[in-house]
Symmetry: none
Subunit: 177 residues, 4 copies
DNA sequence: AATGAATGAGTTTTCATTCAT
DNA sequence: TATGAATGAAAACTCATTCAT
């Protein structure tokens, strides 16, 4: 529902109808409509957080890490496009991100640490701020997701692969000394 | 109002109060609350569209064009931060972008044309898709704006300059052959 | 405006626009929108009141009086159809007739007196209540006007003549001893 | 509520209060305030339509049919005076009859057919147009209802009987050859 | 006489949420 | 678990009316 109509335009009744239950029942499982969104966010984003950690911990050359990160991130479009819709449109920049900023930050910080580590290994230019670089890389990925969500960019399986390569190529070459 | 509380949380009465008039008067000048947002979008985005065109037409090396583009785009944060807030949070990815997708697309297409032209001049790698590259570059910029809007990234004058340099460096090096 | 859209659906601005002036000017000539309706009523109805009095005073056989009454009443459709629209739809039975009931009553009482007088001359059945009869006659006329107003009955010039004859014939024969 | 204050002056809250529920509940059962009126109309008018058909089908001399019609019609004043108020004041001639004109027309056409049939049996004058005659008869009835609704005419039980007799006498004698 | 910006009371309608069953 | 009638706060929007100019 949220993916299709957006959070505000989706009525609790719509959600319940989609689920095939009476709307009252929704309140057995969620405290509020907001909590439904919250749940979608946590379930979707949680995966990305965990994967990001795993990538960070597993080490390896930056290029490889970036590739795995981009794969997870952009690849989720093929697995759960509706969740990505909600993430992109309702969460990432909503005026209510407030409460979620920490969990989102976790991914950013992980990415920044990877870049910082790579920098200390000499894989990244000395004049490059890892934090800013993390935002640049993340922004590239999110924008491409947005293009898919809005139907502005073709988002079939091989488009996803091409997008991964493009982002990784640009980011890697862009950061390299 | 929209910058501070978001579109949905802003009541028409709030807007009118901020403007120091009765809420009824708002309907002399705008057909609806939605149209107020629409107007903010057009006035803010229009500038970017025009500037993008100008940059495209003036030619020059890609690096220079990217720098000017990033300056305009990120620089607007220092000039009209509230308009940027609204752009980032209420417009770029709202479920109602629908009607505005064309005007937004104009900037993307301009950027893509610049990259394509540079590619034909040999300034860009042969295996690089200008359209995807445009999304990558644009995403980098918008994400940084988002960081500022959400207060996650310091956005003072010299931060802006650094951001411009970072994005331009990464993009240029990332796209170069 | 009232004839076309009805009192409630007509905005003061519509009326002013139709008149080719700014809506503020309306309040130089009328105290309120309601007073515009009031004025239409008085100007239209006043004629009928006067004519009814004249018919009553001039005497003559009932049939002749009925004919003149029906002519005035139904004939006004050809002269001022819009005023009749307003009369039929906005005034005669509106929940606000309250204040106008007296002026409307004047016509009814005149008609009833004519019938009573005719009865005393032996032109009307002895078991006939002149007041009820007046309502019957008046109702016949108003219903036909209504038919024209609603476009349910053809209301061209000769239809009006036929209607006059029909009502007069039925009423006269219906009341005669 | 509508009978007492009229459609426009009745607020949704009034109706709900009268019904002893919260105003929001009204929208569970009706799509809008307008639909409440619509429902009253259908429920009230439907009875008259059915009865009119029955009278038409049962045949018999015109005088008898007119009497039954008048009884149903005027008699409803004693049974559901409030519904009649609404019918007379809010529906019969409102600027929005538009959508109801067909259902109202059904009664008119039935009445006209009865008169036409009587004419073919020689019970009605040859120069009488059944359609116009139907409007005349119907108008007589509705005007008397209006008199009761507006409190201009006494509407007790025996007044109703007298009114029936008066209308039937006038109509029958008025139409007879 | 004329304008139209400005006012703000008033009204319908929506919809998340509750809760008796 | 499950229902859906019931609630009522909230909000957008309308429009008659005023009044400075």
């Amino acid at each position: 529902m949220f993916a299709r109509k957006g959070f505000h335009a989706s009525r609790v009744g719509d959600i319940a109808e989609e689920a095939g239950v009476a709307h009252g029942l929704l309140y057995h499982y969620f405290r509020s409509k907001e909590e439904v969104l919250e749940t979608i966010f946590r379930e979707t984003w949680g995966v990305l957080v965990v994967e990001t950690q795993r990538i960070e911990e597993s080490g390896g050359p930056l290029r490889e890490q970036l590739r795995r990160f981009a794969c997870i991130y952009l690849g989720s479009w093929l697995i759960t496009p509706e969740a990505i819709c909600v993430l992109v449109r309702e969460i990432a920049r909503s005026p209510d991100v407030g409460g979620r900023v920490d969990e989102i930050g976790a991914v950013f910080r992980g990415l920044a640490r990877m870049i910082a580590a790579a920098k200390s290994r000499g894989e990244v230019r000395a004049d490059c701020d890892p934090v800013l670089a993390a935002w640049v890389v993340y922004g590239s990925l999110e924008e491409i997701l947005t293009g898919w969500v809005l139907g502005q960019l073709p988002g079939e399986e091989d488009d996803v692969e091409r997008a991964v390569s493009t982002v990784v190529d640009v980011a890697h070459a862009g950061l390299a000394p």
